[in-house]
Every structure is written in C-alpha cells, then in structure tokens.
Amino acid sequence: MVERDLLMIPGPTNVDPAVLRKMSKPTLSHTSSEFVEIFKGSLNNLKKVFMTSDEVFAIAGSGTLAMEMAIGNVIEPGDKILNTASGYFGQYFVDISKAHGAVPKVLEVPWGKSIKPDDVKDALKEDDYKAERPVKVFCHSTS
C-alpha cells in the first residue's frame, strides 16, 4: 500500500503523474534550442501565474534558498530592515536578515493572527528606512 499513500503536507505536495512522467524523459543539452524553448516558455508562463511583467526567476532549490537569495540581493550589512513575523517562516526571515548583517526590527503578532497593512505603514514611519530598499511581503506562514 506504500505507493498509494496520500501526501497531505504543506509541501512537498502531491505531484501530478503527468508531471512525474515528464521528469523521466531523456535529458537534453541545456544549451540546445529545444530545451531553451521549454525554459523560455516556462519563464513566460511563470509571469502569468505570478501576474507580473517583471522578472521571474526559476530557482533550483528550496523555498528557504529563495528567501535567502532575496535578502542577500537587497541587504547591505548595517541596513535597517522591517521584518514581519506571524509564524515560523516569518521568524526564519529575521534569522536570515541577521545572517546578512541587517539590523532587523520585527513587527510580530501571535501565530495565527494577521498583520494589517496599516500596522506595516505605522512601523515604517517609526524608523528611518532607506527608501530604495524594498519591503518584504510574506503572505502567510505555512507553519
């Protein structure tokens, strides 16, 4: 019965068998025109999914890697950063920010409660943040 176990966890999720089958196809050269088309098409489709015309990146790694990549690309040591934390992964961002030398201020609510846009607005006014540094928006914590 092992093969019939139903994976009901918040990632990794069940993968559609059609997607799994695609992974077993012979590996193409990453510079071949055939593969480049598949990759380009996927980046375009990702833009549709994230409803953006801006850059999207396909990261070959965990969500945690993408979190660190985001912070690593915008933070200079000593930067003030406003972190929001309403769950396990919000706190994770605080730890990653510190590892990159940021000085995080944490807007925290008990787990299971929401942070309101006005709370963020007020918190941003309280301190002197560099205007060109983006604000991290974390929709929800999966833990």
Partner: protein, 155 residues
C-alpha cells in the same frame, strides 16, 4: 551586472533540465485550469476542511478571517500524542505534517494546495476522524465529513 537568468539561450549556469520539464508541464496544467478556477477550488476545499475540523471540536491555529487556503494547522485535543497520531494516520494511508517551533508536538498541519481533489480532502477528514476516535477523543462520528460535504455542495 546583467541578469543572466533572463535569457536561457545564453549560458549562465547548468540548470536542472528534467526539473524544468516538470515545471513546464505543471505550469501548463495550472494555466489550462485557469488561476481563478484554481483559487476557487483551493478556497472551497480549505473551507470544507476548516468546517470539518470545527465540527469535530478541534481548534484551528489561524483566525478564520486570515486563514490560508493552502494549509491548515490544528491544535491536538487533550491527550492526543503527536507521534502516535501521525503514525496512525500513515497506517491509514494519509501523511500529515507536524507543527513547527513552539507548536512542535502540539498540533498537526494538513496541506490542501496544488492538485489536491475533493476526494483527497474527504479521505483525509475520514482518516482524522477514525484516528481521533481510536485514540479516545469524543465526537459524533461522521460530523466532520458531513460538514465538509455540505460546504463542498453549497459552494
């Protein structure tokens, strides 16, 4: 520095080719279902699952008004031990996750995102009911399933 990931026809790194096949196929499935339809499906299934947990008298971690449609974390009722609960669930063919950090051992998480179907959600609720009953928690058998079914039919 230019963003080299922008143009896959120019060498920037060696990407995981077969995983990009999978990405392409998954995106095709998602876009052919349509974003709005998928959001609605996730919302209906999440509401059904939350109604089921409420009907069993278990407490959901997140406030209903800000609860995510992709995952639900549930506090264990008294005297339900995490390891025993999840291993019984596994024996019934359903894998659920533990809660993390300060909630470790105090609850469990169920993901209802991606290509999860109505049947998957109903099976999960059924297994939760059987497991909780077996572990001595009192509730009306079938209450969770009835609530979920009602929600699925009403939406």
């Amino acid at each position: 520095m230019t963003i080299r990931l922008r143009d896959p026809s120019k060498y920037f790194a060696t990407p995981p080719v077969n995983m990009i096949y999978a990405l392409a196929e998954a995106l095709k499935a998602l876009l052919s279902e349509g974003l709005e339809r998928r959001f609605r499906r996730h919302h209906i299934l999440a509401e059904a699952f939350r109604d089921a947990m409420d009907s069993l008298g278990t407490k959901i971690v997140a406030d209903r008004k800000c609860a995510a449609d992709t995952v639900t974390a549930i506090h264990y009722p008294e005297n339900i031990e995490d390891g025993a609960f999840r291993s019984q669930m596994k024996k019934r063919g359903i894998v659920v996750a533990s809660t993390l950090g300060p909630l470790k051992g105090k609850g469990f998480r169920v993901g209802h995102m991606g290509n999860v179907s109505q049947n998957d959600v109903m099976s999960t609720i059924g297994a939760i009911e059987a497991t909780l009953k077996d572990m001595g928690y009192h509730f009306t058998c079938g209450a969770g399933l009835a609530a979920a079914e009602e929600k699925i039919l009403s939406l």
